[in-house]
């Protein structure tokens, strides 16, 4: 799974810590999400998309 989280986070001038606080997760979770090494739940994906003012479709790109 690819993600545009890093790009969108930078566009909103948010640090990983800021985003973690907004979606109420640990900073490590944001790190793994940005690297595409963690598949979030639908709830977390929705929270992150909302925090980055985008949609889940635009945020996460599924290859398969």
């Amino acid at each position: 799974m690819k993600t545009r989280m890093k790009e969108l986070r930078a566009r909103h001038n948010l640090t990983q810590e800021d985003l973690a606080k907004k979606v109420d997760v640990r900073r490590e979770t944001i790190v793994f999400l940005e690297k595409g090494r963690y598949n979030p739940s639908l709830e977390l994906a929705h929270k992150v998309a909302k925090a980055l003012k985008t949609t889940i479709d635009e945020l996460f790109i599924f290859d398969k």
Binding site: E17, A20, R26, R27, R37, Y38
Partner: protein
């Protein structure tokens, strides 16, 4: 008291509880290593147990420091990823532990000599704990 303050207090309590468990576990292992070394005059056994105790201490120091940092930053100490990793680690550790106990039972007939049943039981429990720690570290660094 606001919701954030309540969450912070709850997180702090969780971390301090984990710290207490870590101190108890490390102390038990150190005492165990001392007993093996002093009472049974088993230097290799004492050194091995000392290494296990030191590994547990280092692991807990790193773990607790990271958790306290999260509390200071106002972030949760547990989230969906950490809970998921914990569940996967428990499941894998349980499965591997069955084979570990079977191995101990097979080895006790040959080249491992247990003093009594309690020592065999202690070794099994310690092995299970180490297997769980390794599984947790693996999944934590792997991602999921």
């Amino acid at each position: 008291m606001t919701k954030n303050k309540k969450n912070e207090s709850k997180s702090k309590l969780t971390v301090y509880s984990k710290m207490a468990v870590g101190v108890l576990l490390a102390s038990t292992l150190m005492i165990w290593a001392y007993i093996i070394g002093m009472k049974n005059n088993n230097v290799i056994g004492a050194v091995s147990m000392g290494i296990v105790a030191l590994t547990v201490i280092v692991f807990f120091i790193v773990y607790i420091t990271r958790q306290l940092k999260s509390v200071k930053e106002g972030l949760p100490v547990e989230d969906e990823r950490s809970k998921k990793i914990l569940n996967i680690s428990f499941a894998k550790a349980y499965l591997i532990s069955i084979y570990f106990v079977l191995f101990l039972s097979w080895a006790s007939d040959g080249w491992i000599q247990f003093r009594d049943i309690s020592q065999a039981l202690n070794m099994s429990i310690l092995g299970m704990a180490i297997i769980f720690g390794l599984c947790w570290a693996y999944y934590n660094f792997k991602g999921e």
